[in-house]
């Protein structure tokens, strides 16, 4: 396995090995935490000692959907909500690939919710990084299935009336083997969680809380990027192993972060290969019929 050396040459960016520098500057706004999540991810790739040639990133649509375009591995920018389905095809057809889905909450939990729960149920070996900005940002700040109750959004001018999804709880109850959540402020803890998740076999979910500074924060008058960071600093509680039921996020409520799930379950490919070897050893016939 090739080892990525940390770049010590001061003239070039330390992440240059893993980023498409010809695409910089990126499209993300000031105050946005997606860039921080990407930094944490590239650092984690190095720490996890994974050959970048064998990593594939798949993104959907939206601000976080652009991540695939900036990370220098085999990367796919696909349809809205479907990156997990596309990535499932990659993983099943070539199990040697380390498959990562990097997308937003609207993409993965609303339009892609079905694929999310089924990939978790199957325990497809992939890492899903879900940047939760509480809103549909690229389309102009509409309510998402993660918008806290009563928060304003362009499509909730009198406050959001729908309760949000608790993403770690959804992932946990659907069968994910690794679930963690940090904010964009917790870059060191986030990097460690991503490193761990990259080395975990099975469906791993890391939620990155990063409320959109252009739409969510403005319309709810929550201040600028620095004030948001201050809010995380004052209101995040790290509680490893917390029951995922307790992780709902209310409007300007406390945010519980940490590693909540880390368990073992056979992955889809493990079960598939087990089945395959039994069939090949003639232990099984189609539909359990006797004889060949």
């Amino acid at each position: 396995m090739a080892t990525q050396k940390v770049n010590t040459n001061k003239d070039i960016h330390p992440m240059e090995n893993l980023l498409r520098m010809d695409r910089m500057p990126h499209i993300w706004c000031p105050t946005c935490g997606i860039g921080l999540a990407v930094t944490a991810f590239t650092a984690a790739l190095e720490k996890a000692n994974i050959d970048p040639n064998m990593v594939s990133i798949v993104s959907g649509i939206g601000c976080t959907g652009r991540v695939a375009g900036y990370v220098k591995v085999d990367s796919f920018h696909t349809t809205h909500g479907r990156p997990i389905a596309f990535a499932t095809g990659i993983k099943v057809a070539n199990p040697k690939m380390k498959v990562v889905v990097f997308s937003g909450d609207g993409d993965l939990i609303a339009i892609g919710g079905n694929h999310f729960i089924h990939a978790a149920r199957r325990n497809i070996d992939m890492l899903v990084v879900c940047v939760n900005n509480f809103i549909y940002a690229m389309t102009g700040g509409q309510v998402a299935p993660t918008t806290p109750l009563a928060a304003y959004a362009t499509t909730s001018p009198y406050g959001c009336v729908e309760p949000p999804f608790n993403i770690p709880y959804l992932a946990d109850s659907s069968g994910a083997v690794y679930v963690a959540r940090y904010t964009a402020l917790h870059i060191r803890r986030l990097t460690n969680a991503l490193t761990e998740a990259l080395n975990k076999k099975g469906f791993s979910v890391v939620e990155v809380i990063s409320p959109c500074g252009m739409y969510y924060s403005r319309i709810n008058r929550l201040g600028d990027g620095l004030e948001m960071m201050k809010f995380y600093h004052d209101n995040v509680e790290i509680k490893h192993g917390e029951d995922t039921k307790n992780l709902e996020i209310g409007f300007q409520s406390k945010i519980i972060c940490g590693k909540f799930v880390d368990r073992e379950r056979p992955s889809y490919m493990e079960r598939y290969n087990q089945w395959l070897s039994e069939v090949r050893a003639s232990a099984k016939n189609p539909e359990g019929k006797k004889g060949a």
């Binding site: 498409r20 010809d22 695409r23 970048p52 040639n53 064998m54 594939s56 798949v58 695939a68 375009g69 220098k72 591995v73 085999d74 990367s75 796919f76 920018h77 696909t78 349809t79 479907r82 997990i84 389905a85 596309f86 990535a87 499932t88 095809g89 990659i90 099943v92 057809a93 070539n94 040697k96 690939m97 079905n114 694929h115 089924h118 598939y272 395959l276 069939v279 090949r280 189609p286």
Partner: protein, 401 residues
């Protein structure tokens, strides 16, 4: 290139159209099936899954048709020939990724066993109502290739051809069958592997550092690489440049999307597959495809024995449409007779191509039944009596019970 022996079940078999399709896919080298269950296409998956362990093929049943085709596109980029199989409502759900497949220029095959629509329709009953959908169903401009098999043998043969063209032109190819052809059990002759021609994927062979995912060859088709080979490439469903990076200018739309159209449109002569019978001296030509063409060929014999100069044009590929050939025939014949199991789809293409030079009789069987040869024969006889040419499509009223 010849077929890989492991997937070819050489010999003479009695197979349903669906089973023959699965055998065709395995013979063509298809090693990944992404599926979601729907009748009447199910036996394709069933056969494929049963044969998968011995052939070394992989499959996954996804949570819906949207994800089934998404998984197929992902799998295709690993270098595995991939396909999915569905029927009407599932085909509607696949339109999203048909468009993505076109934009990412991802080879794959979509088998569509048509059934009666719209909406929920008459499930599992045969129809040809999705022909236009296969051409125009996804948003935006694109060209597509679609086959229309009429027998179990053609389900086998055309599935192989579909894979070959899909690799050659880097485009999703549709196999537009119907519930009759799919369920019909017939003799299917599967040749030995060295008798089956396989179009290999067009791989990039230049230096690693100068690989550009969408740098086109002269025929507008860019060579491919597999993931996991160290190229570390990017592709996007957005309008993109040669590097696969999104470029949000109209000039790039022309640069990127026009070749997607031209790589098919400029090579239609090589793609179009039609079979003509007795068209040389024909005064009436029956244009048909799929199961309808079986009745049409019978009518040609019957009408000839009655002294009518009748021929048949059978569309093995419905898309691209053979407009040049239909235009030539339009100047020669009095009339075209077009039987379809819908309320008029391919007949509109015939009208467009005939350019007012020939009468067009349309036999609808949108009420879900194969055309009776007797109806087609009666239409042919009436058509051959025509003294003048009328513009537009004449809907022919059937007389037989």
């Amino acid at each position: 290139m010849k077929a890989d022996k492991s997937g070819v079940l050489t010999g003479s078999h009695i197979l349903s159209g669906n089973e023959a399709c699965a055998e065709g896919a395995l013979a063509a080298g298809c090693r990944f099936l992404g599926l979601y269950p729907i009748v009447p296409s199910l036996e394709v998956s069933k056969r494929f899954l049963q044969r998968a362990p011995e052939v070394g093929a992989t499959f996954i049943q996804m949570e819906d048709e949207v994800s089934a085709l998404a998984a197929v596109l992902g799998a295709s980029w690993t270098g595995k020939k991939s396909m999915t199989v569905t029927s009407g409502p599932g085909f509607s759900l696949m339109m999203e990724h048909l468009g993505l497949g076109v934009m990412l220029e991802t080879p794959c095959v979509i088998v569509e066993i048509q059934m009666v629509g719209p909406g929920l329709g008459l499930p599992t009953r045969p129809a040809q109502g999705d022909i236009m959908q296969s051409r125009w169903g996804s948003h935006g401009d694109y060209e597509i290739i679609a086959f229309a098999p009429s027998s179990a043998q053609e389900m086998f043969d055309f599935t192989i051809k579909a894979f070959n063209l899909s690799e050659r032109y880097r485009v999703p190819v549709a196999l537009m069958s119907d519930a009759y052809v799919a369920q019909l059990k017939e003799k299917v002759a599967i040749p030995s592997a060295d008798q089956i021609n396989i179009e290999p994927r067009r791989y990039y062979g230049g230096p690693r550092d100068s690989y550009l995912p969408f740098k086109r060859d002269e025929d507008f088709v860019p060579p491919m690489v597999d993931i996991g080979q160290g190229y570390r490439f990017h592709v996007t469903g957005l309008t993109h440049d040669d590097r696969g990076y999104p470029i949000m200018f109209e000039e790039c739309q022309e640069y990127n999307v026009h070749p997607l159209v031209r790589k098919i449109r400029d090579f239609t002569d090589k793609i179009i597959d039609i079979e003509e019978k007795n068209t040389n001296d024909a005064e009436v030509v029956i244009i048909s495809y799929g199961v309808s063409s079986r009745a049409s060929l019978k009518v040609v014999e019957q009408a000839r024995s009655k002294g009518h100069k009748v021929g048949s044009l059978k569309l093995n590929t419905v898309w691209p449409f053979p407009e040049k050939r239909v235009a030539e025939l339009a100047s020669q014949v009095k009339a075209f007779v077009v039987p379809e199991m819908n309320f008029g789809q391919v007949v509109q293409e015939v009208e467009r191509s005939a350019y007012g030079k020939a009468n067009i009789f349309f036999l609808t069987h949108g009420d879900n039944g194969v055309e009776y040869a007797g109806d087609i024969l009666a239409a042919v006889e009436e058509a051959s009596q025509m003294k003048e040419t009328k513009c537009g499509i004449t809907e022919w009223k059937k007389r037989s019970a």
